[in-house]
Symmetry: C2
Subunit: 149 residues, 2 copies
């Protein structure tokens, strides 16, 4: 996919949508063409570079084909060429109504010739379960889950 | 302290130096004047705003007066007004030669009227102990621990 992603929000929406659909190609399409891209999983694994990141998500999708991530408490810092979001991720596995997590993520975006792309995704487990988004899974909300505009 | 910090590297150096000296005032001086500043500790606590961040570090310093953090594997993304570093933190407590951690951190910086400041510090435990910086504590190295220039 070489769609031009016009904002960090769009990159983030495609990223979490690809996770929900276990679509490895779509997931990898959002990353910047930068050898130093970093993905840190809640397990504490730190992956650097597209090949290592692709392998880790292939393995996650093989074990958990349906992971719906709902974002809340999004803090955004934007500039012309770099943007950073800090978010709370609430995780739903398969058809379970029960929320997992919450997790905390810092997503870093870069604007290049082909629009915005993801430079880094740093995710870790939250201590405070009250951070979790307690809205019923499937219910439509203003900001989560994100849809492409 | 209202020193003009001329780069994200300087902000990071002052931040970790303040931790090493358990200097709460110096530590707080590096944060941006932004109500959404975020500090995520390896415990999974997510603190937002200067008051909550100050309280958490006061409590950390009360329990661990000397925490030396050595940085390695620093990845830097810089732009005019925002910058992001992803680093591996190796922790030394008191006079112990034994390394703790390693931890993974994403540090986000913003340039404002008074130079560069810290917007977010997201730290979490690394799964891979081999990431730790195994150099002898106290040995001088090119990039860690950082000194102000």
């Amino acid at each position: 996919m070489n769609t031009l992603l016009a904002s960090p929000d769009e990159v983030e929406a495609v990223f979490y949508d690809a996770i929900a659909r276990a679509d490895l190609m779509a997931l990898m399409s959002v990353w910047a063409d930068d050898e130093d891209i970093v993905c840190i999983h809640p397990t504490g694994q730190r992956l650097s570079g597209a090949a290592a990141i692709r392998d880790s998500w292939r393995s996650i999708f093989a074990n958990n084909p349906r992971l719906k991530v709902r974002l809340s408490r999004v803090v955004r810092w934007n500039s012309m060429l770099l943007a950073v979001h800090n978010v709370v991720e609430t995780l739903y596995i398969g058809d379970e109504q029960k929320a997992h997590g919450p997790m905390l993520a810092t997503n870093v975006f870069q604007r290049g010739a082909s629009g915005w792309r993801l430079l880094a995704h740093h995710s870790s487990t939250a201590a405070d379960r009250d951070l979790a988004d307690r809205r019923v899974a499937g219910e439509r909300q203003e900001d989560a889950p994100r849809t492409l505009h």
